[in-house]
């Protein structure tokens, strides 16, 4: 495009944005800030609080840590009443998710030995990030987009600000994006075949879903965006149909053949 043509385009709104990235819970945590507090002490303090909270959640909830509350609860060494109230909160969310997905999403699944195992990982990530974002919500006149391994919660305070632009990764070619979601305030979460690591399965059939490549859910709460993306994905060909039953959710299903289905609330 020539300079003359470019000049005819509407002015892009350039907002100074600072970015932070660290690792917690085995994944990259990326933060983008714009507005009044983007690189001062208040911003640094809030970022530190976010990371400290996520590390604490990892210690309490990780199924990879033998001494986490979840691991000890799973082994029957402690009771729920011995755990911090957050553990009961997460398990209650998991139970709601199981009920509302007719069992496709379940934090209790049989392990290799057939014994039911407690694994609330599918709830914890979104829940933890949504909770940790409270430190950023306390920053006045500051917009944020906080992402944990591809699932994010965003805020925009100034009505004149542009929305955050969230690119949805193309599951067939991860160097490309297949869609853009402009979002002012709310959450975006995507589930699919993990880049590396465990496959998601339907908790009822224990099968790896077929037909679907990824599911993205946009809604107010990251906890529920994350849960619903997973619950829809594991239902395979029923992913989009189930998403239409969910109030307040916008969904993007990318099928294995590259076609897409969007669902609205």
């Amino acid at each position: 495009m020539s300079a003359a043509e470019y000049a005819l385009l509407p002015e892009p709104i350039e907002t100074p944005t600072t970015r932070y990235v660290q690792f917690a819970m085995g994944m990259p945590i990326s933060l983008a800030l714009r507005g009044r507090h983007i690189d001062d002490d208040a911003a640094q303090t809030a970022w530190t609080q976010v990371m400290n909270q996520l590390h604490q959640v990892d210690e309490d909830f990780s199924t990879y840590r033998a001494e986490s509350y979840i691991s000890r609860l799973d082994r029957g060494e402690i009771a729920l009443s011995d755990c911090p109230p957050e553990v009961a909160e997460v398990l209650a969310i998991g139970e709601t998710a199981r009920r509302e997905s007719s069992g496709a999403f379940n934090i209790r699944r049989p392990g290799i030995d057939g014994r039911p195992r407690l694994d609330p990982t599918g709830v914890v990530k979104g829940w933890a990030v949504e909770r940790a974002a409270a430190a950023l919500e306390a920053l006045p006149h500051t917009d944020f987009c906080l992402s944990a391994g591809g699932d994010m919660t965003c805020r925009t305070l100034d009505p004149a600000s542009p929305p955050w632009r969230v690119g949805i990764e193309d599951p067939a070619d991860r160097s490309r994006i297949i869609a853009v979601v402009p979002i002012f305030t709310g959450a975006v979460a995507t589930s699919g075949t993990a880049h590396r690591g465990r496959h998601l399965r339907d908790a009822r059939t224990h099968r790896i879903p077929t037909g679907v490549a990824s599911v993205t859910v946009i809604t107010r709460s990251l906890t529920w965006a994350d849960i619903d993306a997973t619950a829809a994905y594991v239902q395979g060909l029923d992913a989009a149909t189930w998403l239409t039953t969910r109030r307040g959710r916008t969904g993007l299903v990318v099928w294995e053949d590259g076609t897409t289905t969007t669902t609205g609330s």
Binding site: S30, G150, F184, T185, I218
Partner: protein, 188 residues
């Protein structure tokens, strides 16, 4: 209930951007529904919005099916001349097979929405929403779920001007090769 759906197909030699807005009469969609349909002069495009709440894009469908009733239409002729009899908001420039087409401002129940496409050598190289409904905080909350998802197949992270990437969970190991990593580096 409301939803906005947008489909853009990748093979365009000339772009005709139709912004159709209609209030659904289906009881399931009690509110309204907006469809953004980009159709091609000689390309293959199909887009449909059904009242059941899902719509599916199929890349090989040879028909075009604009949403009805159509409230406004912005057109750009293959020769690149601005030809927009019904529109005051169209901007179209063409040289070396490149064109930028902005649709009319569509008055949705959440406020005005305007979409722009850049087409180069028959392919969409950029797509953006240049006007959003963002009148007040309440609207912004609604917009968290109501803004159009821009589905299209030729975008790269570079020309899409994105802030974050959402995808299947990126682990620490996979991070360095991820798009998000590139974005983070650009901002550091």
């Amino acid at each position: 209930m409301k939803r906005i759906v947008m489909f853009l197909m990748s093979t365009l030699t000339a772009a005709v951007l139709l912004i159709g807005y209609h209030t659904s009469t289906s009881s399931k969609a009690a509110g309204g529904e907006t469809s953004f349909v980009a159709t091609a002069g000689s390309g293959a495009t199909a887009s449909a919005a059904d009242p059941a709440g899902t719509s599916t894009s199929q890349s090989a469908a040879p028909t075009s099916q604009p949403a009805t009733p159509t409230s406004s239409a912005a057109t750009s002729s293959p020769a690149g001349e601005s030809a927009a009899p019904t529109s005051t908001a169209v901007k179209s420039t063409t040289a070396s097979a490149s064109a930028t087409v902005a649709g009319d401002v569509a008055d949705t129940r959440w406020g005005p929405v305007q979409v722009q496409l850049t087409v180069q050598d028959g392919k969409i190289t950029a797509v953006s929403v240049i006007q959003y409904p963002n009148n007040n905080g309440r609207d912004q909350e609604i917009n968290a779920t109501a803004l159009p998802i821009l589905v299209q197949e030729t975008l790269t992270a570079q020309n899409a001007k994105i802030d974050m990437v959402s995808g299947a969970t990126v682990t620490s190991d996979g991070y360095l090769s991820s798009l998000q990593s590139a974005l983070d580096k650009a901002g550091l």
